[in-house]
């Protein structure tokens, strides 16, 4: 069942739009993601995600005022739609479900392992 489909990056973009509230447009979204997640985002990649999200109806856009720093071009602002909210809620709930379903022993074993072998050292990053 694929009721809502959100790619990982799309999800991030969607969440960021939510964070920025009414101030979400190209450059601000990019900056926000880069600041919060410490990862590089190319405009092209982000734009792809925005267009996909808009096509799916998770976000809607509206033209803002033209500004000088954009050489007279209007900003395009994005907002989460009701459908977008559902999608992201669905995404969160499925993640939570999965998270909760992980038996406790899994974590215990991994934590034990950390002490026993050097090979599992990289798991440090996970906890």
């Amino acid at each position: 069942m694929k009721k809502y489909y959100l790619g990982e990056f799309e999800e991030i973009v969607l969440l960021t739009i939510g964070i920025l509230n009414k101030e979400a447009y190209g450059v601000s979204i990019k900056n926000e993601i880069e600041a919060r997640l410490a990862r590089d985002v190319s405009m092209g990649a982000m734009h792809t995600a925005l267009i996909r999200l808009e096509d799916k109806g998770y976000i809607k856009s509206s033209n803002g005022e033209a500004t000088e720093e954009r050489a007279g071009r209007p900003r395009k602002y994005f907002e989460i739609t009701a459908l977008g909210k559902k999608a992201i809620a669905y995404s969160k709930s499925t993640r939570d479900e999965l998270w909760n379903a992980i038996p406790k022993v899994t974590w215990d074993r991994l934590i034990d392992g950390r002490h026993k072998t050097q090979d599992l050292a990289h798991l440090n990053l996970m906890s």
């Binding site: 092209g44 996909r52 900003r75």
Partner: protein, 879 residues
């Protein structure tokens, strides 16, 4: 100063970016750029800008090709309509174009049909790439067969040999009489071969009747080709039917065990496959244990998977040395073995004792290049005429551009037009091919049809589109690159480079044509030389009757006497061979005072007493054979070549002895005469040492009766011969051939090449001239005002003709200069195939050059003269 975003990057962006995204993307990028400028260096900001722009090259952002927004169908309909109108508007031009292309395609397809057919030999054998033929080399003479024990020895000594088998084309049995006792039907059948029981395990035959696993297991089994089976049995299953085979040494019964299809071509054109384990030659075969001599067995091996054939080949000669060292020593020569891959045999093998004469890769290359060049010439015509005529349509192009046609639209318009023409040419070519195939088949003596090539239609349509594209590409790009302003202003758009290219193409066409003319003249000259050379004997009016049944053999002398009673038969002789046919019998002789290690390979011909007289061979010294001399059974008549190689002098050779060793015994032969060298083989080869003998020792069957006749009415004479034959040999079918024709058969390949080259040269010239004609008429038309003014000012007709023709003739002269060395080289190469040949002399070039010039002159002349005679008033009255 305010920094601006990189211009080039922006230009790139607008190039590919979807226009509905442009505003937003540009805005974002611009803003980001400003932001970056605050924190980073200008260079870095620009670099980031570039990076972002390049990152937009993604499917979602790239603009769709403009075409998809247009209504293509309507445009193409319009192109089609305009193209068709153009075609009809210029009927002459269209005809030249379409017809030229059609001829080119027809010729190309016909030749390709031939080429593909020649290449299809032996491609059907299962695991064919692991099958090899074992061939021998003795004294640098290559022989495609091997001694009898080699096949079995290979199987025994080499684990990598999966299976080996032999085929025997028994000398003197080229025609076998096959008889069905039940129906009393009997026919002469060619190409009957003896094969080992393992034959079908190595080579693939598709059996209609019978089982290929067991068909050859029993002695005296026989497989028939479907044609032979149909002659005797129609569509019925003949398996287990007993048939009688008549050979010079008797009649023998064979049981039919299968019928094989002949739809796949092979270098073994078998009609009959007889098991080698039989009651006729079988006994002889079983006694063949010598590893050195009797290299008569075509030996095939199938190697196991992943065997390295080169390594295998390198082990063959040591293998022979190991097994047959004794035999080779006794025979007094050394022998090496080499392998021939089965699929390559037909085109690449041309050595001694082939199963039948093979094709030749050399000629295939020649034909293939002719096919390609003919098509090229036709395409060039198309391009030339289209570009030349482009001025006429320059205004149309200009107007279209002004109205908004884009370059790619114009290109597709012109490509549509040229493809339309090439499709028309294809239809015409189809018609021509259908008409020409029967004639072509007759020429090349094959049964080809388009159906034979399964994907020929696919192939032809592809060819058409490629031709259309190829032919249309240059004009399409050339025409669409016109600048509307210049064109509409009426300026000449005939650029220098355009003219140069057109001239270059004309030169190319004529170069090819002249090379072909040169080739045709030279081959013709060589063929005339072959026909007229004194062969050292008289080949005219000689009729040969094969004596190849036991009955005819028994009555040979009676038949000869009866035929000589006819006044039209001047002389007659029996012989084992006659000039022009293959003679593989040879013996190693050595002269007085020499040993077995200094032998000369001499070809043996068993001859009747009257051989020398009947063939009119010149006797230089001594005498020929005669009934009066009883001792002639140990006598030989040698030719000059043999005398020379033995180290004797012609004048003193008579009376001397020569020796050979046979099964350890030394045998002496006495020279009784010396004949002048005569060509018992075709002029491809030097005259080799040869001996005539009446000695029964060599045991060669006297398979032919040669008659020297004198008549004007062959039909009548042959009827008489047949009547006499029937009276004496009632049970044997009558057959005859003319010695001259048999001799001429050695030149079949050359004759075929000559005929084909003649025809295709003609076609090449026609196509090239059609092009020249079109160009000339176009030039005359273009310069019509100039001519008018010149005439008004007093130019004479001849001056104007000169003016118009000069340019073209110059091109022909240039072509001639280019073609001559190419032609010279090609001709030299071709002549190397002959030991006796004409020289490439200057008159061939003179003839080719003049004829090319004349043809060109005629072609252009008509147009030029017409232009020169035109009334200037007509051309000058309007502007």
């Amino acid at each position: 100063m305010k920094q601006e975003s990189p211009k080039t990057a922006n230009r790139l962006l607008t190039r590919f970016l979807r226009s509905d995204l442009a505003e937003e993307v540009r805005g974002d990028l611009e803003e980001k750029f400003l932001l970056d400028l605050k924190t980073k260096s200008v260079f870095k900001a620009k670099l980031i800008y570039w990076y972002q722009v390049i990152n937009y090259i993604r499917p979602f952002a790239i603009r769709k090709s403009r075409l998809s927004y247009l209504n293509n169908y309507d445009m193409f309909q319009s192109y089609f309509k305009i193209g068709w109108r153009n075609l009809l508007h210029n009927k002459g031009f269209s005809f030249i174009n379409v017809f030229g292309l059609a001829i080119g395609m027809t010729a190309c397809v016909l030749i390709m049909l031939y080429v593909v057919d020649e290449m299809s030999y032996d491609k059907h054998h299962k695991d064919g790439n692991r099958i090899y033929r074992i061939a021998s080399e003795v004294k640098s003479e290559k022989f495609v067969a091997a001694s009898a024990p080699i096949a079995e020895g290979l199987k025994k000594d080499f684990p990598e040999v999966e299976q080996s088998t032999r085929l025997l084309r028994f000398p003197g049995t080229d025609k076998m009489v096959v008889k069905d006792e039940a129906t009393q039907k009997q026919f002469f059948e060619m190409n009957g071969f003896y094969v080992d029981s393992t034959f079908l395990q190595v080579l693939t035959y598709d059996l209609i009747f019978g089982d290929d696993k067991t068909a050859l297991n029993d002695p005296n089994s026989m497989l028939l080709s479907e044609e032979v089976a149909a002659k005797f049995f129609g569509n019925e299953n003949p398996v287990d039917h007993v048939m009688k085979i008549t050979l010079p040494f008797g009649d023998f019964n064979y049981t039919v065990k299968g019928v094989f299809r002949t739809n796949k071509k092979s270098h073994i054109p078998a009609n009959l496959l007889l098991s080698m384990n039989n009651s006729d030659v079988g006994g002889w075969v079983k006694n063949q244990h010598n590893w050195a001599t009797n290299n008569l067995f075509h030996t095939y091996v199938k190697l196991k998977i992943a065997t390295d054939p080169i390594y295998f080949e390198s082990k063959l000669t040591p293998f022979l040395e190991r097994n047959g060292g004794q035999d080779l020593k006794a025979a007094g020569f050394s022998k090496s073995l080499f392998i021939q891959p089965l699929p390559d045999i037909y085109l690449h093998s041309d050595y001694g004792f082939e199963v039948t004469p093979n094709g030749s890769i050399k000629y295939l290359y020649i034909f293939f290049s002719i096919a390609v060049f003919l098509l090229l010439i036709a395409c060039i015509n198309f391009m030339n005429l289209s570009t030349a005529r482009s001025e006429r349509r320059a205004k149309e192009v200009g107007l279209r551009k002004v109205i908004g046609a884009e370059k790619h639209a114009l290109i597709s318009q012109f490509l549509t037009e040229s493809i339309l023409m090439s499709v028309l040419a294809l239809l015409l070519a189809f018609l021509l091919i259908q008409l020409a195939i029967p004639i072509f088949n007759q020429l090349i003596n094959k049964q080809l049809s388009l159906i034979q090539l399964p994907n020929v239609y696919f192939w032809l349509v592809g060819l058409t589109i490629i031709t259309g594209l190829l032919a249309g590409l240059y004009p399409a790009f050339y025409l669409s690159s016109f600048k509307p302003v210049t064109v509409l202003k009426g300026k000449l758009v005939n650029t220098f480079s355009g003219v140069m290219i057109r001239k270059g193409l004309v030169v190319f066409q004529f170069t090819i044509s002249i090379v072909l003319i040169l080739g045709a003249i030279l081959i013709g000259d060589q063929m005339r030389f072959l026909a007229n050379t004194d062969l050292g004997f008289n080949k005219n009016q000689k009729i040969v009757l094969p004596i190849q049944t036991a009955e005819a053999n028994k009555n040979a002398e009676a038949l000869k006497a009866a035929l000589l009673a006819n006044s039209k038969v001047i002389a007659a002789t029996h012989a084992s061979s006659y000039p022009g046919i293959e003679n593989i019998n040879d013996m190693l002789f050595y002269a007085e005072g020499k040993s077995i290690n200094e032998t000369v390979d001499i070809i043996m011909c068993n001859a009747g007493n009257d051989y020398i007289e009947t063939l009119d061979i010149e006797l230089l010294q001594g005498r020929g054979f005669s009934k009066e001399f009883m001792g002639d059974s140990a006598a030989v008549v040698l030719n000059e070549a043999a005398i020379k190689q033995l180290g004797y002098a012609a004048a003193s050779a008579v009376g001397k002895n020569i020796y050979f060793e046979w099964q350890g015994k030394k045998v002496t032969m006495n020279i009784i005469g010396v004949v002048k060298n005569y060509h018992f083989q075709s002029l491809h080869q030097e005259v080799k040492p040869m001996a005539l003998s009446v000695s029964p020792f060599f045991g060669l069957p006297m398979s032919y009766l040669i008659l020297d006749t004198n008549t004007n009415d062959y039909a009548d004479l042959i009827a008489l011969l047949e009547k006499t034959w029937k009276k004496i040999n009632s049970g044997s079918p009558f057959a005859y051939s003319f010695l001259e024709k048999d001799f001429q058969k050695s030149y079949e390949k050359e004759e075929l090449t000559l005929t084909l080259i003649r025809y295709f040269t003609l076609i090449a010239i026609v196509i090239a001239c059609l092009g020249l004609f079109g160009l000339a008429s176009f030039t005359a038309e273009q310069r019509v005002k100039e001519i008018g003014i010149r005439k008004v000012l007093g130019s004479s007709v001849s001056q104007i003709v000169m003016l118009l023709s000069k340019d073209f003739l110059k091109l022909v002269v240039i072509s001639f200069i280019i073609a001559s060395p190419i032609g010279y080289y090609v001709m030299k190469q071709w002549l190397q195939g002959f030991a006796y040949h004409v020289n490439v002399s200057w008159w061939i070039f003179a003839l080719a050059g003049t004829s090319a010039l004349l043809i060109a002159l005629l072609t252009i002349g008509f147009q030029s003269v017409r232009a020169a005679f035109a009334n200037p008033v007509n051309s000058l009255k309007s502007e």
